[in-house]
Amino acid sequence: MRPFQYARPDSLDHATQLTAPEDTMAIAGGTNLIDLMKLQVETPQELIDINRLTMGEIADTDDGGLRIGALATNTATAAHDRVRSDYPLLARAILAGATQQLRNKATTGGNLCQRTRCYYFTNIDQPCNKRDPGSGCGAIKGIARLHAILGTSNHCIATYPGDMAVAMAALDAQVLITREGEKERTVPVRDFHRLPGDTPEKDNVLEAGEIITGVTLPAPVEGKQIYRKVRERSSYAFALVSVAAVVAMTDGRISRANLAFGGIAHKPWHDPRLSELLVGETPSAAVFDKAADLLLEDAQGYGENDFKIPLTRRALAATLADATGVEL
C-alpha cells in the first residue's frame, strides 16, 4: 500500500473541505477501498475517515418513505424492520451480496461507490481505461465473462458489481449528496451511475468534494417485490445477471412493473420502456418474451459473456412469472 495521510473531519462541512482536493478519498467501511489500495489500484494521498460523522440513522420520512443514512451498514439496513416489511426487495438484494463480515462494515454510501470487479481494472499490470485512461481495454477481446452486454463503449465494458443499488433503482430511490456551502442535491439512483462512454474513469456523477449523506426510498407501493440473482455459486459471488422487480396485478392484468437489472451494464440498468410495454398486459410467456426483446434489442456480447443475453431473457421471464403467478 502506498503511504497516505490520514485525517478525521469533525463535521460534514469539514469532510467536504477535506475531500475537495484531488488525490483525496473519503473512507467509510473500507471493504472495497482498502482492498484496492493494497492492489495500488487506488493511491490516495490523503484518506478522509468519515466514519465518526453521524450519518448512520435509518428514519421515516414525512411522505411515508424511509431515509437510510450514508453510514448505515448493509447489515443494519437489511435487518431494519421497515426495510424487511415495506422494502423486502432491498433486504433481499443486500443479503444476496458479499458475506456477513463484509456487510457488517459496508455502508450505503460506500456500496454505491464500490468499483467494478473487472479483472483488468484490479490488475495494475494490465491495460484499463477506467484505471489508467488511454491505456486501452483488456477486456474487449479478452477475458470478459463478468462483463456488460448493454450500454458499453469502445473504451470500457465493465459492469457495476453491486446488488443494493439494483434494488434501489427498481424502488426509484434518491441519492442525497452534499458539498461545502451548498444545499443538498438529490440524484435518482437510476441516474447516479454513468455509462462508460469515452470517460470510463468516472463511475458516477459524484464530483470532488461531494459526499453522499444518504438514500431516500419513496413511500412503499403495492406489488410483489422480488430480487432474483443468478451467479456462479449460491453464496458470496457477484451477479452474472440479477433482476429487481416490483410488480403489481389488477384484475388479471399487470398494473405496475418497475424493473432494474444488475450484472449486465456499467450501472444498474433501468429501461422505462419495459414498464410501458408490460402495464395493461395479461401476463404470459409471450408477453415476457416481448419485454425481453425490447430490453435486449441493442445487447452485444463480447465472446465469453455472450451467454448473458439468453440468461437475461430467462431471468426476466422467471422473475415476471414468479411475480404474476404464470406457469412458464
Binding site: M1, I34, N51, T75, A79, R92, T99, L102, K105
Partner: protein, 174 residues
C-alpha cells in the same frame, strides 16, 4: 494535514493497546505484529477467505480490510479472547470434539465467525437462506452454510465444521 493524536486506545481481549503510527497498518497486521496475537490468521488478505475474522463491538469483520487507526475506542475479541486451551469456549470445544479442521489455519476465523453468527441468529437477523425475512430463524445446516460463506476451508472440513456449529446452536436453543 493534521496528525491525529489518539487519546483513546483500542481494547483487545479486555486489554488496552496504543494504536500504530503508520495508518497503513491493517487491523490484522496490528493484532499479529504489534500485539503478538498471532491466533488471527492472514489467508488471502483481501476479504475473501475469512481467516482473519475477529469480533469488533460484537460484530464479526475481516480484520484485513480495516485499518487499525480507524478503531480507537473499539473493543476487539480475537480467538485468544474467546477461550484458552484449559478453558475453551463452547465453540472451541465443539470444533475439537467434531474435528472441525485438518490443518487448522482457517479455524480461528471459523470459530470467531461462528460465535458471532449464532448471536446474529439469536437477534433474528435474516440471511439469504431465510425463507421469511420476519423470522423466527432456526440454525439449520442451510442457514449455517449461507451465513458461514465468508469462511473458506481449503482442507474441506466443512461437514465437521457444520456439525460443531450445529451442536453449539442446539445447546443455545435448549
Amino acid at each position: 494535514m493534521m496528525k491525529l493524536e489518539f487519546i483513546v486506545p483500542i481494547t483487545i481481549n479486555n486489554t488496552a493497546h496504543p494504536l500504530p503510527d503508520d495508518p497503513r497498518t491493517s487491523l490484522l497486521d496490528f493484532l499479529r505484529r504489534d500485539c503478538g496475537l498471532t491466533g488471527t490468521k492472514k489467508g488471502c488478505d483481501h476479504g475473501q477467505c475469512g481467516a482473519c475474522t475477529v469480533i469488533v463491538n460484537g460484530q464479526r469483520i475481516n480484520s484485513c480490510l480495516s485499518l487499525a487507526v480507524m478503531h480507537d475506542g473499539d473493543s476487539v475479541t480475537t480467538i485468544e479472547g474467546l477461550g484458552t486451551p484449559d478453558a475453551p469456549s463452547p465453540m472451541q470445544k465443539a470444533f475439537l470434539e467434531h474435528d472441525g479442521f485438518q490443518c487448522g489455519y482457517c479455524t480461528p476465523g471459523q470459530i470467531c465467525s461462528a460465535t458471532a453468527m449464532l448471536q446474529e441468529i439469536a437477534n433474528n437477523m435474516p440471511s439469504d437462506a431465510s425463507e421469511s425475512l420476519d423470522g423466527p430463524i432456526k440454525p439449520t445446516p442451510e442457514e449455517i452454510r449461507e451465513r458461514m460463506s465468508g469462511n473458506l476451508c481449503r482442507c474441506g472440513a466443512y461437514a465437521n465444521i457444520i456439525a460443531a456449529i450445529s451442536e453449539v446452536a442446539e445447546g443455545d436453543a435448549a
